[in-house]
């Protein structure tokens, strides 16, 4: 099959249909491939996927030393820097490499969901004031957090320990950390491996949303697909929830920049030759590989602490508006840009998930105890104005995708195209017509993040559900959004 790309070049990869929702680019498609590439998509999404260079990038990833099994592309895959967004690759920790490009610039970009005791009818009278208060209490855009300027020692503690410092300062509840992926702390983190520049960029960014498609959203559970799992997660129809989508801010970007540069210079020493420089990598057990892994884990800890600090701000806002009824319980927090060492099929692998979410099933030991009967929660944020989804991890995903699923809708238009297609004031009016309250720094930025600029999240979620990568549990309808 020939796939036409957006710049008119042809991406000629013969594909084999494994099932109605899985296409495979076999290992014979290009001489330098070490493993096949498997793409999860229906026909509609497939036609979107072949418009950019996602598949060529997935094939490039399939050439990395030590890559095992298959490289997987989720249904929301799109072209990234070197490694496609929506890609999953597992590399042997003894024979393989680690690649900062396989994690991405926004290390541990992720999503956390908080559930209130409020129903929509009780929340609605104060909803507009709540969204406004959230926008005033949580810095967005390229903003800093003047309330929390960390000392060098404090920042190192966050990098090394994740949320412990926040717990001491009353910015986290004891029950928050166990309900965060990895307990909100990767033990391999070493603040000493994070550059001075990265720390300078991050020291006053804890508790901030950032820009792009990051947001804080007030939602209502408007449909439950699997009542047993919804009950396990503490979710019910008509309930008010809060979704936080952000990452490691400038600190994570600088860590990625620093180590892409270092590994680009180190590859020749290890005799590694790649089709794309942005995939720069080093053997996992080399000094460069270990330093990046330690710095990446530290940036991941910072991102979890960032979402925790935003949680604390949101709790204060809800308490001001609703008193004790506005209590927000953390359901879970998941990363979708990260590399983690995991056991798969008896092998120790460094699983790179870039724009992909871990989705462990009921029997996995890392699934939190309260969720063992149903699998770990997974959150798939929609675009502004469209629904988000709560999914549950499946045991079957371990063999289908190294225990991974999609991460969101993914952009379908450039920012300038989105602005040309629909001006910001029209986007705002349309959202208001749907009853969605919006707080955004500018109309221009609102236009960039218009729902039409993104792929159809319902279709993406439908594919992962049907393919068995995760199960649909609930749909969350937006009521008010604070845009980054």
């Amino acid at each position: 099959m020939s796939s036409s790309t957006s710049d008119g070049s042809l991406s000629d990869y013969a594909t084999v249909s494994v099932s109605p929702l899985i296409r495979e680019i076999p290992v014979t498609a290009r001489p330098d491939m070490r493993v096949p590439v498997r793409v999860y998509a229906d026909e509609y999404l497939w036609q979107q996927i072949v418009r950019d260079r996602s598949l060529e990038q997935a094939v490039n990833v399939a050439t990395l030393p030590g890559v095992t099994g298959c490289v997987y592309a989720m249904p929301d895959v799109h072209e990234g820097y070197g490694f496609p967004v929506g890609g999953v690759a597992a590399l042997d920790v003894e024979e393989g490499v680690i690649s900062p490009g396989g994690v991405g610039y926004d290390i541990n970009c992720g999503v956390r969901l908080l559930a209130s005791d409020l129903d929509l009818s009780a929340a609605r009278p104060r909803l507009e004031a709540v969204v406004h208060d959230l926008s005033r209490s949580i810095p967005s855009g390229p903003g800093r957090n003047p309330q929390l300027d960390l000392t060098a020692t404090d920042l190192d503690r966050v990098l090394d320990e994740g949320g412990a410092l926040l717990l001491e300062r009353g910015l986290a509840l004891p029950e928050d950390l166990p309900n965060t992926e990895a307990g909100g702390r990767l033990a391999a983190a070493r603040s000493a491996c994070v550059s001075v520049k990265a720390k300078q960029r991050g020291h006053n960014q804890l508790g901030t949303i950032g820009s792009g498609n990051h947001f804080v959203e007030v939602q209502v559970v408007n449909e439950v697909f699997e009542p047993e799992a919804a009950a396990a997660y503490g979710l019910r129809r008509g309930q008010i929830t809060l979704l936080i989508h952000t990452g490691s801010r400038g600190l994570g970007h600088q860590v990625c920049t620093d180590y892409v540069r270092q590994m680009d210079q180190a590859m020749a020493r290890y005799g590694i030759h790649l089709p794309d420089r942005q995939l720069a990598c080093a053997p996992f057990d080399s000094p460069e590989g270990q330093a990046y892994f330690a710095a990446m884990c530290a940036a991941a800890n910072f991102a979890w602490a960032n979402r925790q600090t935003i949680t604390s701000s949101a709790r204060r806002v809800f308490a001001r508006a609703y008193g004790t009824a506005g209590r927000l319980k953390l359901v879970y927090d998941v990363a979708h840009n990260i590399a983690k060492v995991e056991e798969h099929g008896g092998a120790s692998l460094c699983v790179h998930r870039k724009g992909a979410t871990r989705a462990f099933g009921p029997s996995h030991p890392e699934t939190p105890a309260p969720y063992r009967a149903v699998g770990q929660p997974v959150f798939i944020p929609g675009s502004m104005g469209t629904a988000s989804y709560v999914l549950a991890g499946n045991d079957a995903a371990m063999t289908l995708s190294f225990g991974s699923t999609c991460h969101g809708a993914g952009r379908a238009m450039s920012r300038s195209e989105a602005k040309r297609t629909r001006p910001g004031h029209e986007v705002r009016r349309e959202l208001e017509r749907q009853g969605i309250i919006v707080r955004c720094p500018s109309s221009s930025e609102l236009a960039e993040e218009a729902p039409t600029a993104y792929k159809d999240v319902e279709r993406v979620v439908g594919v992962v559900h049907q393919a068995g990568l995760a199960r649909k549990v609930a749909r969350l309808k937006p009521l008010g959004v604070v845009k980054g």
């Binding site: 855009g141 300078q200 960029r201 820009s211 540069r261 210079q265 794309d276 942005q278 920012r415």
Partner: protein, 141 residues
């Protein structure tokens, strides 16, 4: 016949979550200065800024000229994110394949900054052409 040196110029193309800079100039030094000006155009949403204040010295070393372009832009991005200082005007004192030394004047802003997060190696290209050099570099926004 010697080609006429290219005048520094740049174009920008937007993709899904990135901006592609296309830059051309008669020399490597002029190319780096033009790439810096193009970055400032993206960083400053409101573009009517006059450079002023003390001239800052910027020095970057890299493994080759492609990496030098990426590292140069990433240094400017770091200064914008950390210091809120956007370099606008450049005086290139030395530009070799693996090193650039420059003086730069710019503006410090609290608001109105754009959101360039990194310059990448993705589809990076620096090529000799008649009259100078051409380059493509992708910015993460």
């Amino acid at each position: 016949m010697t080609a006429t040196p290219l005048l520094p110029a740049h174009e920008m193309r937007q993709h899904t979550s990135e901006i592609e800079l296309h830059v051309r100039a008669g020399s490597l030094g002029d190319l780096l200065a033009e790439a810096g000006r193009a970055l400032a155009e993206v960083e400053l949403i409101k573009a009517d800024c006059v450079p002023g204040g003390p001239v800052r010295t910027i020095r970057v070393t890299s493994s080759d000229r492609e990496a030098l372009l990426v590292d140069w832009l990433n240094e400017l991005i770091f200064l914008a994110d950390f210091d809120r200082w956007v370099a606008l005007d450049f005086s290139i004192n030395l530009a070799e394949e693996t090193e650039v030394r420059a003086g730069a004047s710019g503006v410090t802003l609290e608001w109105g900054l754009s959101r360039v997060k990194a310059a990448t190696f993705h589809r990076l290209r620096v090529e000799d052409v008649p009259g100078g050099l051409e380059a493509n570099v992708i910015l993460d926004v």
